[in-house]
């Protein structure tokens, strides 16, 4: 096998550190494309097969719940790379093909069309799919938001004066509600928790985001559970709550989380547990790696196993996998990042907020909607949520997270300098 010249920082072990002749990447969205593109940038000249189950060229998903709904962006603006850039990568690109199984000993991936593709190294980047409400299949007007088709179907129906019910006040639900209000719809948002997003960002920040919805005319109802959808003639008319009451709506958007696409790996021998389980090198088994929403890997920076469904992570992890495929053996230890645009709120989050012990507002204040909240986990600063905060301030905090600053030092320092 050819061995690259610049893998000096890796420990080469048989079957792991040697460079594969043929890489198969399953999943042609942000993570899969980043892996393929990074391999080429790092000088890899072997064969790369990129398999994607959607017919489209690789495209970007975050705008689906934002600018695509508002019409600020057309589908053409979503493409991650133009045709010419993709062609230049020299990929064996198989779009509209679904992988249905993997044979580890035989080193082959089976596609729905019946063909098999052999690999020396496999990258699983099959992402996640939106969870649906049971019993809603085939009911017109019930939407999830994951694919371009989902977004375009919803956009067609978002007309001024129509009634929209949003199930789930997480980030997708919140962004859809904000976009729909901007388009002049009547929006009811239903959330089982008492405070939306409290599990992710804490109650105080969650309440601030809640107030923003109410100030913008969203009828947000918390502590309510949706039992099912109501329909007439195959068209949705609303939802029924667990207390028996009903909420009318001509469209229902379901934003209740997602599930990793790992079913095709069942029985393969690969470790599955809410994602494909990987070590700190994003390796699930010899010759098998994972990147993006589907990967559950050990992040040594936080000493925690995580699965991150955010756009930036998909690209960073794809790059990390490409490096490790070529022998770098470098742990993937990023500071997770996501952003959300809702009304006039620009929300940015860095770090690992889940399971935090304490939240403190260290800059600005909640009422002004310009603030920075710091999250403590044990003795460390684990993350921050910044709302409408200047970039230099945010970057200083991000760097404190990346260097694992003790809580006392991180909070004390920035206060002294503020």
């Amino acid at each position: 096998m050819p061995v690259l010249g610049h893998q000096a920082d890796g420990v080469v072990t048989a079957g792991v550190g040697s460079v594969p002749d043929r890489v198969v990447v399953v999943g042609a969205s942000a993570a899969g494309l980043a892996t393929a593109e990074s391999l080429r940038r790092l000088g890899y000249e072997g064969e790369i097969t990129l398999v994607g189950n959607e017919p489209h060229l690789p495209y970007d998903r975050p705008p689906l719940s934002k600018q695509i709904l508002t019409g600020e962006l057309d589908p053409d603006g979503l493409l991650l790379r133009g045709r010419a850039d993709l062609d230049a990568l020299g990929l064996d690109l198989r779009l509209g093909e679904t992988a249905t199984g993997v044979d580890l000993p035989g080193r082959t991936v089976t596609l729905a069309s019946g063909t098999t593709v052999g690999y020396d190294a496999l990258v699983v980047a099959t992402g996640a799919r939106a969870r649906r409400l049971p019993g809603t299949e085939g009911v017109r007007g019930v939407h999830v938001l994951r694919t371009l088709e989902d977004a375009l179907t919803l956009r067609e129906r978002l007309r001024p004066g129509r009634r929209l019910v949003v199930v789930g006040a997480g980030f997708i639900g919140a962004e859809v509600a904000a976009a729909a209000r901007g388009l002049g719809l009547l929006v009811t948002m239903l959330e089982p928790a008492q405070v939306p997003l409290a599990h992710a960002v804490g109650a105080a920040v969650g309440r601030t985001l809640t107030r923003a919805h109410r100030d913008h005319g969203v009828d947000l109802r918390t502590g309510v559970t949706v039992d099912g959808v109501l329909s007439r003639g195959g068209e949705v008319t609303g939802v029924r709550l667990s207390d028996g009451s009903e909420v009318a709506g001509q469209d229902v958007v379901v934003g209740i989380g997602s599930r990793p696409n790992t079913e095709w790996l069942a029985g393969s021998g690969l470790p599955l547990d809410d994602g494909l389980v990987c070590d700190e090198h994003c390796m699930a088994a010899p010759r098998v790696y994972a990147a993006g929403d589907v990967a559950r890997w050990h992040n040594p920076l936080f000493g925690a196993t995580m699965r991150i469904e955010h756009r930036t992570n998909a690209a960073e992890q794809g790059l990390a996998v490409a490096r490790n495929l070529l022998g770098a053996r470098r742990p993937f230890a990023p500071v997770p990042y996501f952003w959300s645009d809702q009304y006039d709120l620009k929300i940015q989050a860095y770090g690992h907020l889940r399971g935090h012990d304490k939240v403190e507002i260290v800059d600005g204040d909640l009422d002004s909607r310009r603030f920075l909240a710091a999250y403590r986990n044990g003795d460390h600063l684990a993350g921050v949520v910044a709302v409408n905060t200047p970039p230099k301030t945010v970057r200083a905090w991000r760097s404190a997270i990346a260097t694992r600053q003790p809580w006392s030092a991180a909070v004390g320092n920035t206060r002294a300098s503020a």
């Binding site: 980043a34 593109e37 990074s38 940038r41 970007d60 975050p62 705008p63 603006g77 991650l80 756009r311 930036t312 690209a315 960073e316 794809g318 790059l319 990042y337 952003w339 645009d341 620009k346 940015q348 200047p390 970039p391 230099k392 945010v394 970057r395 991000r398």
Partner: protein, 65 residues
């Protein structure tokens, strides 16, 4: 290498500034990208390529010469 940024697409994540501060900055008021150098020196090319790759809104375009 020629670098171009699409400011309307930018989402102010600041990832590019973290990776290649010699080439990218952010506006103070809204965090949008500011291109400091549209033909950076070779020692910055790897950083610029990585910034273009991880930019969450694909707002950085490169033309390799």
């Amino acid at each position: 290498m020629q670098v171009a940024v699409n400011v309307p697409k930018c989402v102010a994540s600041g990832q590019c500034v973290l990776i290649a501060p010699e080439v990218f900055d952010q506006r103070d008021d809204d965090g949008m990208v500011v291109l400091l150098d549209d033909s950076p020196a070779p020692e910055y090319h790897d950083g610029v390529r990585e910034a273009a790759l991880v930019c969450p809104s694909s707002a950085i375009r490169l033309t390799e010469s």
